[in-house]
Symmetry: D2
Subunit: 435 residues, 4 copies
């Protein structure tokens, strides 16, 4: 079969109208600040590991994005808040210039929280002036990327902070426990949903915002497969543990088995075994493990080993995406419910639940470029493309992801050993091997 003439890449960043763009700018920026309301100056300053960043840094870096990529070029006469910040808060953009070393973000006590707040206000004021006057499509596109960028950092800010508190032997709580989470909540049984395979289309369809790495939309040939109706629960994962899952090398990828031994992994991150059973550390402190909640804070290695133990496998990202298109958003993000994945709701007929929200689902797909992909020109070309190696694709969004930052074509990516994100497991199976 011959494929049709290639189409141009989808326009990934459709222009928003000035008024709504400014409103949206204010809304996203305010959401960041709201996240930090209950964090002290001390809380916002410390970097708990090289992969994580201080909350204060997230607040400054997302501001830097607008200052450097929007205001510098777009607002005549814009004056920088502090010229040193151009390097200090550059995360990884070589095309913009030098960067302060990532593992040393936690050594910066000055600027402090108050000065960071002033920096945000300074840039917000300039952005308001700029957006009030209207911007051309190209600049509006960059603003849009900046807002999604800030939403990504909202999730990182939350997960980095949760990790930081977990390193404190006093195990402090940060948020109140969600009121919608009674202990009696249960998840329905997991069932297998079938897809017949064939040539399907995946990638962003051009409606609404997407990152460059979701494009171009393209066709791919799938074999028939089955997908689990919901993510794996804590209780199911415990069965794997109790069956000796962490002690049997036959279940693990070679690098995964090395990671188990080097790190002494015996359970997901944050789990502790106590005389009263398993507990887990949450944003509302240490709590008994809820059996019917989706398992989170597992690495790709653990997700893969669990799947092998369950005589299944992880889905590919394309399999996941074609099943997510029709999926209901009923299991998604709870606006005020904080950082807790929910037990799955009752499954609709023939369609999976909790695809969008609750937990990031490891796929078996290494993160690489779609056929025909080309990175954007300029600094934004560094946003996604230079990481297309040594990482795995995760799909779906988590309980820490802003609701309007979740979509079926979204490609998140992390290295296989990562555990401090809300990462979980959904099973898949080749149809040919299914009974």
């Amino acid at each position: 079969m011959r494929v049709e003439t290639p189409r141009p890449p989808v326009p990934a960043h459709p222009t928003a109208q000035p008024a709504s763009l400014l409103a949206r700018y204010r809304s996203v920026r305010a959401a960041t600040e709201k996240l930090c309301v209950s964090m002290s100056a001390e809380d916002q300053t410390v970097q708990a590991m090289p992969d994580a960043s201080p909350a204060k840094w997230h607040r400054a870096h997302t501001t830097w994005f607008f200052e450097t990529l929007v205001l510098e070029a777009g607002l005549t006469g814009y004056r920088h808040f502090d010229g040193h910040f151009r390097e200090l808060f550059n995360s990884y953009y070589n095309s913009i210039g030098a960067q302060h070393a990532r593992p040393e973000r936690g050594l910066i006590t000055r600027p402090g929280v108050a000065e960071t707040t002033a920096y945000r206000a300074h840039v917000d004021e300039a952005m308001a002036r700029l957006l009030a006057g209207g911007v051309d499509d190209a600049l509006a596109d960059i603003v849009e990327v900046g807002l999604h960028h800030e939403q990504q950092h909202q999730e990182l800010l939350a997960t980095d902070f949760k990790y930081l508190l977990s390193r404190n032997p006093l195990a402090p709580a940060w948020l109140e426990h969600p009121s919608d989470l009674p202990d009696s909540l249960t998840a329905p049984p997991s069932t297998w949903l079938a897809h017949g395979g064939g040539v399907v289309e995946v990638g962003h369809d051009g409606n609404g915002f997407a990152y460059d790495n979701e494009t171009p939309r393209h066709r791919v040939l799938l074999e028939p497969f089955l997908l689990a109706s919901r993510p794996v629960t804590n209780d199911e994962y415990l069965a794997f543990m109790e069956d000796g899952g962490y002690g049997d090398p036959a279940l693990w990828l070679s690098d995964g088995w090395s990671a188990v031994q080097a790190n002494g992994w015996q359970a997901p991150l944050y789990w502790r075994s106590t005389d009263d059973g398993w507990t887990t550390f949450t944003s509302s402190g240490t709590r008994p493990l809820a059996p019917d909640e989706p398992v989170v804070h597992v690495s790709l290695y653990e997700a893969d080993a669990y799947a092998r133990w369950a005589d299944a496998r992880l889905p590919s990202e394309e399999e996941w995406e074609v099943m997510a298109v029709d999926a209901p958003r009923n299991g998604t993000f709870q606006e005020d419910g904080g950082l807790h994945p929910r037990p799955a709701p009752a499954a609709p007929d023939g369609r999976p639940t909790q695809m969008l929200g609750d937990v990031w689902e490891w796929t078996r797909s290494p993160y690489s470029a779609y056929p025909g992909y080309r990175p954007p020109a300029g600094a934004l070309g560094e946003y996604n493309s230079k990481f297309m190696c040594n990482q795995m694709v995760l799909r779906g969004g988590s309980c820490a992801t802003p609701a309007d930052h979740i979509r079926a074509s979204y490609r998140n990516f992390f290295p296989p050993p990562v555990r401090w994100q809300f990462t979980g497991v959904r099973l898949a199976k080749d149809a040919r091997y299914a009974v």
Copy 2:
């Protein structure tokens, strides 16, 4: 489009007849010994880095494979040469038992070379007895895997030893320089060969031997693409270097740029800049760089950066394979010519050259399971499948690969930073972006 009913996996290891199997056994085993003829006892003992192994270990481990996987079960009354070897020479088979730590292979001075030779003779004698009597298909299959396993180790033995000698400040030569390599040899210009894309079949077709990871043969949808007619040469790679390739982060994957900085890479492994120009360390000692030979000893990161600099990309393994099926084997392994990639021969009309032999070609494909893949039962299930993470596929075979160990469907794999293998670069391009 709906794909057809799944077929069973191809029989990967067709049975050989007893007489020919024994003859082949003897031939492969003798080839290993021939490789070591000019290595002293000292040469065979040292491990130059954790990724490499002593020559003596390769000779013992390949013998262990037959002893443990064939003779233990297949030859009644077989007596082990030394019961300790079962653990000492187990590389990574957890299903067989404990293993001596890989980075400590170079600490073993006893058994020495003479005892290793005796071990080989002991097992060869038993194997001859076994094969002379005829074996069933299942056992013959394992013997066949053992022979291909030994051929893989022949290549590793050669590349590990080249690396070891390179760490000696005296830069000793190991082999004579190939007599067929006059300095005047030149490569033809590189041209672009087009493929129209569409649904193609890849994976082993069932004729002859294949590893499990080449199966099942399956269909995949390709976009139209272009493939370079030959690998990149030293001269072409030098142009990248002279254009500042190693100093421009915009050309590199993020992990690649980190590797460049952490390791101080300025050129491929073994290259040295001297007053008389570039030299490279070879199996025949330090020699002037031959401009028209394919570049070798580059990492995936360097291959990828070169491709980006050249406004191209690396091929996917499926693109590579469909082009290799029709490719001539004219540029392949020179039986007595030693460890030197050759300048490309004149290109045949419309077909690529040097696909099979000379250099392993990095692809853009992370190493993972083919759709429908299932690992074999037992110890052989660990052979390939547990490494399907954090590695990239290489295709084609090198000047160090035994000629009958090279085939179009063969999937080699190494982590992205690896440079001590004969790894090179072939360019590809999306047809949609071609001028």
Copy 3:
């Protein structure tokens, strides 16, 4: 020659009267708080390296000392501020129990600065109650140790914080530059002062407070020697640098040369070479190097290499001590002058200057027990004695040492590579080799 009958160890901690002890307690505690006045919550939270601690930790740990070693046993009905602090703020006392890992002190954001202040107030109130009622000699001794302990931490708090700010690319200033330090201040020439050697007494003489490691006072036989009249200046050290001192292995101890190469040392810590000459980072920000100030922030290795280059050597701690007994205190700590060593004042006739205050002077003496030394019983036995290995003795006190914490018999100790303290160099010479 036969030495006399051994005397009992000196009473190291003479009892203070209740009233004066409480006054002194308040004075020392207030001095700690004064040091932190210009530190933000962010400043007080971060740990810049494993050897350093957050300011907040110093404030809490010194409080823990009184709570755990004094109030627990001494104040009936005392209630802990927070039971978790017993482990959280235990530095290294195994006899008291488990300890929070030293390199993780900077991960603790809660308790924050405000709660730390409340902790100090809670313990201060209890201590006031206790001391107002009078305590027995044994408890008074421990209180006295606690006050000296807190004074030691005042110096660490200051040097740790200076180091933290130095890691900030913005190089923020912390204190105003001392007003008594005009650029025109000069140091007198260095001269050699002779001591005839013989049997001398060293160690604490029993008047006033001393740590256990300064006892017992004992006799030691010295060869005749010369001691420099003042510490080495920045200008003199620059001459060593300009003569290639950092590039000549013949000048260095073997471990020192390794440290130079591993760390890329080219100058003392905090020095930077600029187009306008050398600068150094100080508590009042980056400043031009003052040529006549004593060199500080050099390791034992650098001090030793400088001495060898100058055809001299470092003094032994006993040589240093016998010369310090008669030395004037004219060059000592400036109460309000902050963290700057001063240029040496004019030397008195035949006596060294700046022995007590300004810079810690590396000696050639490894830190070990005096003949007849016995550590105190209980937790205080861990205070000094378990560190008597792999460290070198420093003498004299620095510009960051509280004035009443400086005495001729005081033995400070740090490992040879340490540079973040105010460590300098005073030369000595064997009389037999002097011209």
Copy 4:
């Protein structure tokens, strides 16, 4: 008290007569070769850890010493065996030039054992010519140093090789077990021998050979002390272990406790706990622990912890030396008895036994320069003096030390954590605290 006019340093290297010097040269060189008789080429090539060196390297480096420091200057027309060896076999002499990196000595397979033997013969022939003709005193002194240097390396060669074999899971034996070591040998009880202290003389007295670091002989003031009549035995050390010695931080120096935890030390190096009791790995393979043999292969930290547990301490090197001067040599090195410390013989009246030979005894003295010490000019100045930091002095010589390389003033030195030498423990005590 005023000490007398300084004397010049003792002549450390008295000239030997030509004939006897050549005879001695041949004897020492032959002893090295004899040590290696039962080592294969493989055995001689591998470096088991950075602190150790291959046997082949020891043989070449000791030869390099004579070639570089004697023949280059002393023998007209001498031609180097191979010019590359000047750098390849330079251990640490910066004044001679560059050095091959120490941790990479085990990567050198060429030159091999045969070429190393030829190198030794080449230099031996030239040395024989030189010495036959007679040499001046200065050169004879250097030859003498070279012979003692080679004797030091004989011990290292043996201990490095023992360590290498210990890393082989097959635990191969190297030498026959000494025939004079029946299991029934017992050690006499340990008793305390008193010394009254006072001003004593230590350091080499000028009779016979000494290294520069044993000079100048000088006076030192000692307090009265007690010394144990013999080293601590395995049985005594076991009592410390069984009493929880490795689990009680109160017994350990701070750095020692860190070493125990970081390395998981539970017993001396080479000890293994089996169902049949403790075994230890020896040059004659794995053997049951002999209860009355001196404990060996303990670090300074373990020696110090044992002493604290035994309510004693380690002797200073001066205390040790004054007691060794009168000590019998009855417990020393057994010419053909191999690498086993012997149970102590019956103690003579009032004098310690096994001071000279059997085990190196850790002292409490950090290794530093004697008062008035000056290193020799030239390369030999690097021999001892640049290591005078971070090491501890050991005294007495071990069962692996050549008998005529042992003397009372000899100062061996190693860092505190070292365990692969034959290092043991002798106790001391302050007389003032003795009952």
